[in-house]
Homo-oligomer: 191 residues x 2
């Protein structure tokens, strides 16, 4: 395998698409759950339209409703199975704040266009969140696309709540589902 003649990789670099900057107004206060999830859905849709990754978007908001970070699915463009929308939002937000746990100070909300997969679900316990806002359900993702969400604990919402993370879902669910229709219509790859 010729790739293995390369040296060990000691630095990982993951980029978000350039168009993201123009979608984000850092001074705006996003009041209410729907406004936050609606923006995550908008990022998911634009990621499909721009061809910059899979049909998923996510943001982290601080306690004032201001944006800390944004992420979209970058698995194929960045050749990285970890680069889901929620993971990109966690990693870029922690880099911006300079700490590994958001709510070491203040309270923080993840807004995601679709129910987190088993990886992003697990990552949510360590990111430092107080609230998780979800658009589409897992069954919307798997019904309307070939994406797989992976295995979760039976009471996945209860496990989050038991560790201090409140969950609210079905926020703008129809709009969230529509992103998968649009992605399927473009014959997007599933991963």
């Amino acid at each position: 395998m010729s790739a293995l003649s390369t040296p060990l990789t000691l630095r990982v670099t993951l980029d978000l698409p350039d168009w993201l900057d123009a979608e984000i107004d850092l001074s705006r206060v996003y009041d209410g759950d729907e406004a936050k999830v609606d923006l995550a859905i908008r990022l998911a849709l634009r990621n499909v339209e721009e061809g910059t990754g899979g049909p998923f978007g996510a943001l982290v908001f601080d306690g004032d409703g201001r944006i800390v970070s944004a992420g979209v699915n970058r698995v194929v463009p960045q050749s990285c199975s970890v680069a889901h929308a929620e993971m990109m939002a966690f990693m870029s937000g922690q880099a911006r704040l300079g700490r590994a746990r958001f709510n070491e100070e203040g309270s923080f909300t993840l807004a995601t266009s679709a129910q987190p997969c088993c990886m992003c679900y697990g990552a949510s316990f360590w990111a430092g969140l107080d609230t998780m806002l979800i658009g589409a359900r897992a069954e919307d993702v798997t019904e309307l696309s070939a994406f797989d969400e992976g295995p979760l604990p039976a009471d996945w919402i209860g496990e989050l709540r038991a560790r201090g993370i409140e969950v609210r879902r079905d926020l703008s669910r129809d709009a969230a589902r529509d992103v998968f229709h649009k992605y399927a219509a473009k014959n997007g790859a599933a991963y």
Copy 2:
């Protein structure tokens, strides 16, 4: 919060420690399960000794038993809750091979010094693995340190096997547990 006056972060960079290069012999063939896990344990121990992160190490091997990538826990030094040893091995290995799924071609093994937490467990489904080799059990991690493994599906091993990932554990378990003793003796932070 003054950190929020900074622009949105569009690039995430995660570094592994410089000492890692000297520990890795890319030409060596690691025969057998124990040899692979023993190296993961050695990396975990050195990460504690060097003060470059938490007491966890992981590697990805190809079907010939050669090293594709290595990772150690970098959560605190890199201010990133995602930077667990397994995640660093996945991301750096995929960057090295230039693809998001290891076993798109060939077969691949994760060797980890301790049972993956809920995030790394979830990530293992998407990384493209055929085999998972584990040193310490989750109860060793939580008994001997304040680290939390998070919630898993009831039959977590069965879920991996059902998706084509064989699991073998308790490999060099005593040596793997000893890393947590040494970490605790240094009063290392848990996260």
